[in-house]
Symmetry: C2
Amino acid sequence: MLMSAMPTTALARRMHALGHTGFTCATVREVEGMAAAGLGDDLLLANEVLDARRLGALVEAGARITVAVDSPETLAAAVAGGVREVLIDVCVGLPRCGCIPADAGPLADQARAAGLTVRGVMGYEGHVVGLEDRAEREAGVEEAMAILVAAHEAVGGDIVSGGGSGTWDLNQAVTELQAGSYLLGDTAYAKLGMPFEQALSVLGTVISVNRDGGWAVADIGLKSLGMDHGKPSLADPDDARVWITSDEHLTFGPAKGEAGPPARIGDRVRVVSAHVDPTVAYHERMHVTQGDEVVDVWPVDLRNW
Amino acid sequence: MLMSAMPTTALARRMHALGHTGFTCATVREVEGMAAAGLGDDLLLANEVLDARRLGALVEAGARITVAVDSPETLAAAVAGGVREVLIDVCVGLPRCGCIPADAGPLADQARAAGLTVRGVMGYEGHVVGLEDRAEREAGVEEAMAILVAAHEAVGGDIVSGGGSGTWDLNQAVTELQAGSYLLGDTAYAKLGMPFEQALSVLGTVISVNRDGGWAVADIGLKSLGMDHGKPSLADPDDARVWITSDEHLTFGPAKGEAGPPARIGDRVRVVSAHVDPTVAYHERMHVTQGDEVVDVWPVDLRNW
């Protein structure tokens, strides 16, 4: 389970109670927070760091921490910081971290020579997880995982870690699936036709309407919504159109062919972001609801750096 | 000064020490934080609220609070919450809050009949503050402010509040300028040719390079950058190109015609966002530097809701 998609130990605890013991983190702070919450059975920092001392301190304290390495520098940082287990991070097509495939074997040898345990490989096919055409997505996964499997043969170890919510049922190569977004959902993942419900929305109140212009304004803005994947959507009414998202406001108009304003002052609106990960990270807490009743509050305790 | 652009009382305190006593807020939390910091001489909530009780409590405690109203509902909320002073918020062309101009006078009458003091009008020309062509920006300001000045005649009071960093020297109609972004800057405002230096950047470290692909990866991502105005830019080296911004990573390539990778592992990079307001809000603190030395740390204490 990938913590960076919903950085809250509350959700991780529920997964843990269901038997889930391995968690993937993207930041040192996420790893520290998970360990502090007693969820340190098997934590992977699926990211490169040049200072692993805070991770090493967690190992000293009894947590099991594995860190991704993709260069002699990050390998040296793991050793210097006191982390004892690594995955070799391999670039499988996404222009981001990961060594070039030819370097994976030699890097694993270097890690073992330095006294580290190499648990296997990691490679994230992030360039294909969002492709809306399923056949394209499948072909992309196949190509990326062929690279990772070949690297795994050169590296050894038990673990092949990769995949994401968008490729959860297509990626048969991995032994560990780095999926997290499926738990809460967003409009980008909703386009992929996956069998997961969209659970997350930002609840706002209509504070202004303009009868001449035919629009309404809710008190939700871009400070509270991940905007990199595009504009948010209104969940209810789902046919209303978002015109503008500014710092603390969202302006929306009526459905096509209808007259505005599309809401009245005081109406509640549910807004769904196009990208769940930053949306959660921008909030202090999530309210868990059943119908209109708040049944729990989850602090977003792993956000920030 | 507009707090939502840089939600920190540290910066407000410096402005206050320089004689600046009036501050414009966008959220109740900003107003509360400013009052708690002893900066409650004259706080405007330039936004509509349907529950003004937390504002009324600040008035009781001795702060001077003015709230924008644009409807009978928000006016009633001010009365019920115990706020005694209002501005009539008028729509001057931006599809957001503000009553239609014809309603401004009647709404002011209604406010006075309810026992409120109407201090004047507010109207934000947010649809023109970012226009890159100065002549277009000037024409837009003129058109918007003609609406606001006419509304002011109908409303009365001493205050005409509006404007922003992009129209600071073009807007001659206002008595209070709602500018804040100019203090820290972003790449969108940098295009307007204003005489303010760009002070804000996010400092990251290169954690991975790919010699085959020619790219480098820094540990700064979209969770730490306002993305609604588009991709961030690298300040140093300023000719490097940003390829991808993901949750916790920024991938950048070499300058045109040059071979990559454009940086080495461990290099520091300064990234400038396209929108300063959310960028500041996504961080817990800002580090104030002179050269490479950190001379102060400012908590972003007014963020969240």
